[in-house]
Amino acid sequence: MTTRFRFDLWTFVLIAAWIVLLILLVWPLSSILRASLLDNDTGAVSLVHYIQIFTTKVYQRAIGNTFIAGIGGMTGALILGVTLAFVTTRFHIYGRAIIQTLAVIALVAPPFIGAYAWIVLFGASGVVRKGLATISVSIPPLYGVAGVILVFSFKFFPHVFLITSGALGAINRSVEEAAESLGVSPMKRLFTVTLPLILPAIAASALLTFVLSIADFGTPRIIGRDFNVLATEAFNLFGGEVGGNPGMASALSIVLIVLSMMIVFGQRWVLRKNVYYSNLMKKPERKRVIGLKAVGLHVLAYAIVLFGALPAIIVVLFSFRRTSGPVFQPGFSLQSYEKVIATVSAPIWNTLMFSSAAVVAIVISGTLIGYLISRRPNIATGTLDALLMVPYIVPGIVMGIAFITRFNDPPIALTGTGLIIILAVYVRRLPYSARSVAASLKQVGPSLEDAAVSLGYSPGKAFMKVTVPLIVPGILAGGLMSFVTAMNELSSSLVLYVGSTITMPVRIYLSVMDGEYGTASALSTILLTMTAVAVYAAFHLSGRKESALL
């Protein structure tokens, strides 16, 4: 192998990426690590918090539950997401655009109010549950571990769907046809050829959904009841509801991060041999099916997305209900909207500005870093890749506190500015974009870029002219996910906002906490609409109807 060192564009990107991550990730988080190692009372360095975690029953249970939630949420999301991706990329389904829109809506269902909507539907006195009871079908209420896993599955499957349908659409048809001609039955072909080919995408989305599941604290908090996980414990301790214990909370956060790193290495191991390149020449075709099979496929696809979008739909419906103070009344009105417009409009602009700024930065640097990770494997990029996993897992509230601790005073004093919110979102969502790009690069053969280089383009130009156009679906999918999550970012903003930099999700959270469900629903609906418009615009502007999504 080459030992020669060349200073080129990619070396620069590598150095820049390292600097950015050191400042925005390692340095802030080091404050958490430090806090976790200090005794609350004496201030001396000690392992007391860690010892407590592994000897106290409630924390042990939290660790076990975290794994259950993570694996359950991941499995559910994978099953739903891969199924939906397969059905929509391989069969002719009517209203594919509707399905995709619903999937995106499920993705953006605003935090907190989403979990709230699930309870409205399936809680102890939930609408659906009661309705079913009248026809003497009884289902258990949605609380506890099963409820958490179910909600995670339907909350996170759109990630899987977006990532894997991009990969499925990029499989060279000849490869599948070759398997067919070798006498492999369609079902067997799915498991021996198709799925292994999209394994990188599946593994990427598995990792993503796992860490989203274990870092989420809203769902276990509202639906889990006594199903405690590390994130809820850490949130409670940071939040100070039961007295507050920053040292313990920090130690729990560190344990969460370490758990995530284990998963990252697991993923690496699964993918250790995967280098698949196929220069896309023959795109897969969508098969037309008729009769019962067609009906079944349609029902399946629509059931998944409708169920996933249900919380969002409920929220929209509720936003038009009449309210009297915090209590919903029979009948409809625009009351909630009138109240919102009369009192709050700053959050709307803040949300738009902050998330746009973050996403532009995320897409550009995520694309470059994604390329670096997948095309220049070495120690420096490998550790960068591993480091990039950290923001995935760090609960937003931890990231927020880390930012406050480090960026409160010079040299970098940012507290109270919009920039600190943007930077927090940036570093938290950068991995989405980088991973998504890395996954789609797995399907573009490197000889294409070599060809451009041999025709006289510098590596940077070859990348821009050949690789970027081919991975636009991946860039777009990653950018889209970053954008919708940035718009809906709650936890870190909750710690970092001041009056003038309040964002929509924070406003919604405060409304829910005040019991103003009407206002919260109206605000959520506005946020949902904004997100949907942004998503639509992104696809319209990119002019790629046949890309990963549409």
Partner: protein, 359 residues
Amino acid sequence: MADLKIQGLAKSYKDVRVLESIDLDIASGEFFTLLGPSGCGKTTLLRTIAGFQSQDKGEIIVKGERIGTKPAHKRDIGMVFQDYAIFPHLTVAENVAFGLKARSLPKAEIEQRVIESLKMVRLDGYQNRLPAEMSGGQQQRVGLARAMAIRPTLLLMDEPLSNLDAKLRIELREDIRDIQRRLGITTIYVTHDQEEALAVSDRICVMNKGHVEQIGTPFEIYRKPVRRFAAAFVGTMNFLPARLDGGNLVVGGQSVAYPHVEGSGEIEVAIRPENVLLAGGAGEGAAITLKGEVRKVTFLGREAHYTLKTEAGEIVAQVADPAHDFVTMEGRMVDIRLPLSKVALFRPNGDVVKAGSAR
């Protein structure tokens, strides 16, 4: 134009040696062909020359300049890729114009060259197609046109015609040769097809397992192989076990005087089918004479091959312009003459036995 020297080039993937230590000296404007079995390192050699991967050792020198560390895009080395590497998001015309745009040629000239190059590969009229709408052979020709269009100082072609029908292959190889000669582009060409290699090359380099077996003109490679591998790989060659015995060559039960070489030992006799003389063939000079039974007759159009069973082993003999009754030969015994002047001897280590008139 440009000459290319390669000195002691070595390359490994992890711990697998793919190129041992390659030395090549390619003259300006030469059409140089790499011929060798699958997996012998041809593509690796081309990719190293083009600069897509760096060598572990050795020098690459173009026009006297060491380019071993120069970035690939500054080398001005065109390449036709074995897997085509056509840009799937660009039309045929855009693919061909891609390299020309990098050279910021005037628009009119770009258009002109695109048309010219596509005409050369018989694809005029396909300008606006996308690669996904073309056959494998057509895509391959786009790759060829794209590399030729930039008129590079050095052109590397990795099996550029492998996917075409026999007729088109012959047409295109002649065209490539003509254009290459007209423009004087130094070319390294990789092929599996020996006939193609013999037909178009100025010189051929026979490779095996990452090292060079023999470099020579097509005539030398075919007629005067210096390595057993080259003799066996290029064209059909009969090999018979034999023994040198103090000035005598012993084949089967037959012994002929062979005063050109000293020494004794095991050896292999090699002779091409077209040099094997059958009964009635008037033979001049010394020859090994054998008797053989015709086991199989293979009709090849221009000629036929007889597979003969002799006491020394199987021999394939070629009969030019076979008459209609050649099939009835099956089962007959014939006299066989192997003229010593056409015979080559190889030692067990694969080297040819060099001697006066023995070849």
